[in-house]
Symmetry: C2
Subunit: 195 residues, 2 copies
């Protein structure tokens, strides 16, 4: 570890790694960024970055305020008897505020991607690399884009615009409203193998 | 008109009115803001504000970067044989960039509402007052919230995240993909009178 006079593992170090990652993802995109480059920028040993964040996806999730790995949700969807419900519930789990009165972590994501084209590019690359790459190439197309639109619109209406009755409805109620549309996109487009 | 040493009707005056309106909507919401208060804040005569922007809705549209009045789209939807198509097309007409390479005006809207809870409140009030108030009270509910989510998600995926194939598809192609989902929401929820 570079001697910066800080003890390893303290809160400042972690935040400095996240700040270095944020800048690196914005400059180089998700694919172009490396753990080594981010460690160097933060002035810490690369092993410490792995210790805190495991891998590049984990680091991106910290930058983007994502509580869960979307790949896990995707894998659960592939094995679910009700894939629309599993997807909507997994997505909401990522962004629901811990306390009803708190702002959603989705606000940070929405601010970051709408304020910077580079951050939006990195976010799209992250989704492509982490999730969509698991869909066989010949089955990729409109569905994943339309499902992304569906879920982001839900988050925008619930957490940012706070349109009633979406804003105050329970997760179960939102799932009941939105899952059928997602299921239709997943199943109804001639892609029985996806998911 | 207050004597500010400026000629009426020049570009600066218009922009100062928009800036005054932006601050007033953020502070007082859409319903609370008045044309008189905005004129006073901009240091111009109220008649000049009406001359430029017609009414409060026109002023809000200038602040929010909306090219069309959503009420007109709503009225067209009510008379359309294909309401989903009319709604998606009207929404895209509002936010499509003039040139393919330009950023969409939706970026300004997305930045503003995700950066400030007050602006998001004003935007929601604008939609409620200008559009949703035209739906009979007993028919209001989940559909308008889910349609809002649907359209905002589409704009986010197309203009901000720029997810393919949504980002580069023609307006006709996007309408073909998304209109059936909007039609289903408009028609399929036991609300035959809406629209």
């Amino acid at each position: 570890m570079v001697n910066t006079g800080r003890r390893p593992g303290n809160r400042d170090t972690r935040e400095e790694i996240v700040a270095a990652a944020r800048a690196t993802f914005a400059e180089q995109g998700y694919v172009g960024a490396t753990m080594r480059g981010i460690a160097r920028r933060a002035g810490v040993d690369q092993a410490l970055v792995h210790h805190y964040f495991k891998n590049k996806a984990g680091l991106f999730m910290a930058v983007a305020g994502l509580r869960h790995d979307p790949r896990q949700t995707f894998e659960a969807v592939q094995q679910s008897a009700d894939p629309g419900e599993t997807m909507v519930r997994g997505f909401l789990d990522t962004f629901e505020p811990r306390q009803k009165k708190d702002p959603s972590p989705f606000l940070v994501t929405a601010q970051a991607v709408s304020a910077s084209r580079e951050v939006a590019d990195a976010y799209r690359e992250f989704l492509a690399k982490r999730v969509w790459s698991r869909i066989p190439a010949h089955e990729r197309g409109a569905p994943q884009a339309l499902i992304t639109a569906q879920l982001w619109g839900l988050a925008f209406a619930r957490y940012v615009l706070r349109v009633e009755p979406l804003a105050d409805a329970s997760v179960d109620q939102v799932v009941e409203w939105v899952a059928p549309q997602v299921t239709a996109l997943l199943m109804g487009l001639g892609r029985p193998r996806w998911p």
